[in-house]
Point group: C2
Chain length 590, copies 2
């Protein structure tokens, strides 16, 4: 059935690229997979730590999800796995139902992945990807900045070796300040140099490698492996100096082996408490992933399908849940590395999964002496690059409404946590949008002398007559502004008692919904009661087609004119006196 | 301080009309007040019954609230008091926290009035009246229809004298059907004739009075007094035939006297459980009232101020709470009677309050023999006129999206109650709106031969060149459609590999918010990576002013052209060959 293939390929993108898979593509994908694997191992462990989970869960979440995305995702180069923001959101949601370290906590994290996977898949199948639009850029950027600050703050305790807590940012700072006296010097001796080294790897390492003669692109890729160097060096330090006995927190024994296959529990009371955070995790994860995927696809003039991406990410999360993992999505840094390293198909992701599987089989014993401070330093360096201090000033200059949404998101995220932060940002953004949508632009217009053009009376010197009121509506008439239209027209009429004809110039009205129609009917009846005619001009074809399916045109207390000019010319003559108009008026009119 | 007066009058509308109050206005207002009082007494008792409250509470809610609205409301003719839909919503909300007839139930009703009063006032002071726009006409009309059906069904038991319950419509019907065997013949003998009489009063009584020689307007007003006739006749019947002893449910002893002045309890746990229904009651009440007020104001070319109306209705509800009443708003039927009877200022409302106060002092002993069936008949006749069976068919013809919102509201209201119905309607309406807003109209355009106009390539026979893609965007760029724009532009480019220049024609773009700007930047970078120029044409002045405050124009990988024609002419020449273009192409271009 060769005809079925393109249609099927829409839902199984693997059919698209697997047909032309050959040895040269395989070679490119394998190189990329090795590089991403090296980068992903410390990241997976670190993000699991951030999520409050055993480090091995980070590896589990980096195997099957990558295979599932390779089969169902549409991006050729997206690298799926645990990411910082979703790890923080998982910690927040799971922490609300259980204590970290307990079996219930792990169960909550797995349930979040399962719920999020189902939600993403359903949203994709129902083609509801547009819901992600509710997160405006200022809200996302505020959320990412605030999350970065929260995450970095939460890791400081591991760098200095103390216990600290706190539900919100001020509380976290306070708790840190109070326990700082108990800092462990050995932990600091590992954590602070690791932090400095990793910052330098980000900023100066690549340049140093180039100076040593490495080609710039290769230097850049090797620099991304910096965390592996930090991991190896600190494992050696911890083993040789026996730092575990000196109070330095180590990762400890990690059970080696492949992830367990386990059906996630379907505990209804747990689902009831986790569905809201799962929905937020789904939407945040989707937005982060789809923008990375779009950026990379555009560079090679490829396409992604956002609705199919929902299905791909949904499958990845379901796979994560079935293999004891937690919520995953496409990460920015590792996808860029995958792209730069030359990945050409999603098979690179599947090969990365193989690499991680090998690591969890054979490398885990080596990781038991890894200081937690190293992982914390990895996280801090990764998330501080997310903190964006330029955006607030840019938004302030560009749009006060967007600035308000941005600031509200940052403030609420820092003070009330990630979930409330997202909800507040979406709500503020939506309210500001609805407020603007409920007050669209309209203008009283008059005729520009010696032309047939009608312009705003406030901006141009135009010709009008007192008994005709011409209103140009610069927006579609929907339920959000229907009430506004009634008020606007009736107030203008109340202001101008001589008015006997109102012309609504509909040249910019692309749609009239049922509420807009009902408002027009109400305006028509009210003007009719006051003895005033209501006329329309320049109604667009599709709008007119729909109006003709109603009684409105029959009940209309006036006429529909093809052009504003004709409407004005005809109605301006009807000054109520029944006699011919004075010469000067006629001059303006004809 | 004469200058202060107009500003103060904006917040105290009484200052506006009281200055010109004279004896002729007083006479008009008094006549209207007498007529409305006669109409309001049975209505108040009936709606209190519907709300599950003692009948006297209906009278309480018809005294102080009217005085408060007279001072602070902006409509000259709105008649405030208990209405059917809010009574049903009160019954639903109070019934969820206490059993009808208990002190807790009454406390819940009073708390609802207090909360609703505070919410309305705050919304008014913050000028948030636009939130009422979220209730589209199809949602309101669906809600009113479904409420009418629920209310009428809930009263059938009183007409036939049985006990019945049910949380939703099917359950109510089932409960009625099961207990129908226990019907009381004496109750039916009162209820059914009362029902038939009241239906006839609505439809034929006015005409009969006109036939008897009464002027049509007077006949119409007297017909509105029909319920009073039914009340008097059934009281006589009940007293003479001693129907109370025969199992007919009577109103019973009503404590006479003025309403108690009582500070509503501020029980936090009660407030926590009632704030959502109170918010819905506020918004539904406001929408109902403001549309009545606008209709009546327009008839006399008067104005109302929606934000001040919120304050007026808020004060009325606070007054209701302080005098043992329940939520009130402006009612349609009684406001129309007030208007027709010649009310000229809100003082008519204050005089009506006086009339109701006299009634509660002196008439209540006469009402104790009133059969409940009479009140139920009053309610049924009033609410069945709200049921609107034409709207669904009209909406189906006019707009499938509006039809969907209407039907969802009716179905959820009947099956899951009034609160879920309103929430579902608002949600469905908003989702459909956001869905449309996220997919605005755009078109690939080409030049109409021998003109400088650019039109949709799909509708017109126009001139294009393969290496220039001109896209006209017919909508402002906001966060809701920012992602769409990226996808749309990048997909068009992916479809047409020869493209070397993209022109976005921005003639219909009234605004670009921060997300729209960021999408333009992303498009610019992605096209730049692919070696394609991005150009803008016909950018509006205010939009350009804001763009100039950003780095976008410097980073733009192309130019901004004043006209689409100039952009196309210039870029079409750049076919990448560097040589002069062939003659036939030049002919099309210059």
């Amino acid at each position: 059935m060769p005809e079925a293939a393109p249609k099927l390929a829409r839902y199984l993108p693997i059919l698209e690229w697997a047909r032309t898979y050959d040895r040269s593509v395989l070679a490119s994908d394998l190189v990329a997979a090795v590089i991403v694997t090296i980068m992903l191992i410390p990241q997976s462990l670190a993000y699991a730590l951030l999520a409050g989970l055993p480090p091995i869960v980070g590896l589990y979440a980096s195997i099957l999800p990558l295979v599932a995305y390779a089969v169902l995702g549409t991006s050729r180069t997206l690298a799926v796995g645990p990411v910082a923001v979703l790890s923080l959101m998982t910690a927040s949601a799971a922490g609300a139902v259980a204590a970290p370290g307990t079996a219930e906590y792990l169960e909550a994290a797995v349930t979040l992945a399962a719920l999020s996977g189902i939600m993403l898949t359903v949203l994709g199948l129902l083609r509801l990807g547009f819901l992600a639009n509710l997160l405006s850029h200022p809200v996302i950027s505020g959320f990412i900045t605030a999350s970065g600050v929260l995450i970095a703050t939460s890791q400081v305790k591991h760098i200095v070796g103390i216990e600290a807590g706190g539900d919100n940012w001020p509380a976290m700072l306070g708790s840190l300040a109070m326990s700082l006296g108990a800092a462990n010097p050995w932990t600091i001796a590992i954590g602070v140099p690791a932090l400095i080294f990793l910052f330098w790897v980000r900023s100066g390492f690549g340049r140093a490698l180039t100076a040593l003669g490495l080609p710039p692109r290769a230097a850049d890729i090797v620099a991304k492996g910096g965390p592996v160097i930090a991991v190896v060096l600190t494992i050696l330090a911890a083993s040789l100096l026996e730092l575990g006995a000196k109070g330095v927190d180590l990762v400890g024994a990690i059970p080696s082996g492949l992830p367990p296959f386990a059906v996630p529990s379907a505990d209804l009371s747990l689902i009831e408490r986790l569905w809201v955070p799962a929905l937020l995790i789904s939407i945040i994860g989707f937005v982060e992933s789809v923008s990375v995927a779009q950026t990379l696809a555009a560079k090679r003039r490829q396409r992604i399908s956002p609705d199919q991406e929902l299905v791909g990410l949904g499958a990845a999360n379901v796979a994560s849940a079935f293999s004891g993992g937690y919520p995953v999505t496409g990460g920015f840094a590792r996808s860029a590395v995958n792209f730069d390293a030359g990945a050409r198909t999603p098979a690179a992701g599947a090969f990365t999964a193989g690499g991680i599987a090998l690591a969890s089989l054979f490398l885990t014993p080596l990781l038991s002496s890894l200081p937690v401070a190293t992982l914390a330093a990895t996280i801090i360096v990764a998330v501080l690059s997310l903190v964006d201090l330029k955006t607030p000033a840019q938004l302030w200059r560009y749009s006060k409404a967007d600035f308000a949404a941005h600031l509200a998101t940052i403030a609420i995220t820092l003070l009330a946590g990630v979930e409330m932060g997202v909800i507040a940002g979406v709500t503020v953004g939506l309210l500001l949008y609805l407020w603007r949508a409920s007050r669209p632009h309209a203008a009283i217009v008059g005729r520009v002398p010696e032309t047939e053009h009608f312009r705003n009376v406030e901006r141009h010197s135009v010709f009008t007559v007192p008994h005709v009121l011409s209103i140009r509506i610069d927006e579609s008439l929907t339920y959000l502004n229907a009430r506004w239209l009634e008020e606007y027209v009736l107030e203008r009429v109340a202001d101008q008692p001589e008015v006997r004809h109102v012309i609504l110039m509909a040249s910019a009205v692309n749609e009239i919904d049922a509420s807009g129609l009902e408002s027009l009917e109400a305006i028509n009846h009210r003007l009719g009661d006051a003895g005033i005619g209501l006329h329309l001009s320049e109604v667009k074809g599709p709008v007119m087609d729909r109006l003709e399916r109603t009684d409105f045109l029959e009940e209309l207390n006036g006429r529909v004119y093809l052009s504003q000019n004709r409407a004005f010319r005809e109605l301006a003559r009807d000054d109520g006196s029944g006699s011919a108009e004075p010469d000067d008026m006629a001059r303006g009119l004809i």
